[in-house]
Symmetry: C2
Subunit: 304 residues, 2 copies
């Protein structure tokens, strides 16, 4: 029962802190595949994979380190956040169901509430209230608005008041997603906002797309920061081309894009199919990938 | 010392014959990864991988089967060809040098000349004459012109006259390439010819591109059939976009593309980098690929 966890920590500027968080998650049975720091967002995204029990233990340790080192009272960055460990989603990967992921989230959420004194909101597939399904709703008001928010909306676990330095955490279960930033050749947040509004589902765009405008100071560009939450239905190239089209309306082109964390193989296949106009492209068409497969699968070779 | 061989056989319409050729190459130590039939080209492209000695034996057996079943006197198709086994290139893959591939080509060429009574021209990196380096020059005049051609240009091995039904074969060594067909939304061979001429290096286009116009009867479209012979320098997306641009001059768009055989992983990376404008994209950014790697490599993880 292998799960993935992609926790986001509100620290993207101090490499020693980010490294300490990553190291504390490296326990037997867990692979920390990477951790991506973003100084503008002031946020880091870890990708870890492992058996449910081991992964849960590793994520608890990572969270404990983050609570120790991160002080939200002095945190500034372009990305919305409400906690030191801002969000901790579990994704079923191999031999695991969404129900398994929900159970891991619940159990870890309860433990974090008790042992770290963190208010824990269960979100998305793990949500216990319908208005907690959408992360943006849970996080509304951010760290600064937590006290007043929590008065009307108590957490699932832990104290009913914010942790003084670490705020609150959203723990959940969800399908895999693609986190993808598109940098625009402009410094106009107005344009980034209009493009994000046009492209995201909640305001009339593509149903599988969440999008926010962000001011990427260090590059002198703005960006449209996107989550493709149902990339099998709303694939990466379609979202990217819609950003290009909508930005073009304001005379703005795409500077470059960034992947945050990992890309599912399906998205790479979709990219090849879309842009190469090769509708039946498969990863098994790639020599190195075909050589990875066990030899027995060659027998299934069809004349093509 | 692992090599790849990508022999092309002049049969793309009789599945039983193509299957027999593939089966005869399936010996221990050799993986036949695939064989792609094309009815319009009337040609099949096999991809096989194995240790040098085993692969050479497998390719000999496949050639023997092809000579047995294919009669060039009654062969028709859009792709230029001079033999039943038209071309047999060896590619160094793992722990093998180009010199190794040349030696395998020479040894197998000698054997095919002797045991199959086939005239054998060594080409590209295995060429013994500078005017045999380019396959198109070796094949000029095709099967029908072989007798007169061979009077002035004897083969490296085998008889100095064509095999009555199997013609001649080009055996060689080369770097990996991408075989890639672009189908155009037109039935005008004139447009396909103009696009091919503009795009290929020999007539003023991209240096790493070979291209021929082909009449793809079964689809009611013409195609530009390309070999990208130096795709690290002239990558797939650049060639494709130049075809799009040149076809657009004649008011013609791209219908779809086809990969013949396998794509090197590098080409898929280039495709993602180009179209997603993600200049540092790597296959290790793909979750499934990262999970394939040995866990030790996680230690090399850098903050990114």
């Amino acid at each position: 029962m292998i799960l993935e966890c992609v926790p986001n920590f509100s620290e993207g500027r101090r490499p020693d802190v980010v490294e300490a968080i990553a190291r504390s998650a490296e326990i037997p049975g867990v692979r920390v595949l990477g951790i991506a720091m973003d100084a503008d967002h002031n946020r880091s995204v870890m990708t870890a994979v492992g058996e449910a029990e081991d992964l849960s233990e590793a994520m608890f340790r990572a969270a404990r380190t983050a609570v120790e080192y991160i002080d939200l009272r002095v945190h500034q960055g372009t990305h919305p956040r409400m906690g030191a460990v801002d969000v901790m989603p579990f994704v079923p990967l191999v031999g695991a169901t969404m129900e398994n992921a929900v159970q891991v989230a619940e159990k870890l959420g309860r433990r974090m509430g008790k042992e770290l004194q963190l208010p824990v909101y269960l979100y998305e597939m793990a949500a216990t209230k319908s208005y907690h399904k959408n992360l943006a709703d849970v996080r509304r008001g951010q760290f600064e608005g937590l006290s007043s928010k929590m008065a009307n909306d108590p957490p699932d676990f832990g104290p009913a008041y914010p942790h003084p330095t670490a705020g609150a955490v959203a723990v959940g279960a969800r399908n895999p997603l693609i986190a993808f930033n598109v940098l625009l050749n402009t410094d106009s947040m107005d344009v980034a906002g209009k493009v994000a509004e046009s492209v995201r589902g909640s305001t009339g765009g593509l149903i599988g797309v969440k999008a926010l405008p962000m001011n990427t100071v260090s590059q002198g560009k703005v960006q449209v920061s996107m989550n493709l939450v149902d990339y099998p239905k709303t694939p990466l190239p379609r979202a990217l081309e819609m950003v290009r089209e909508e930005a073009g309306r304001w005379g703005v082109s795409i500077f470059r894009t960034e992947l945050v964390g990992f890309m599912p193989a399906q998205a790479l296949v979709d990219t090849a199919r879309y842009y190469l106009q090769q509708f039946d492209f498969e990863l098994t068409d790639v020599l190195e990938w075909a050589l990875c497969r066990p030899q027995e699968e060659d027998q299934g070779r069809e004349l093509s």
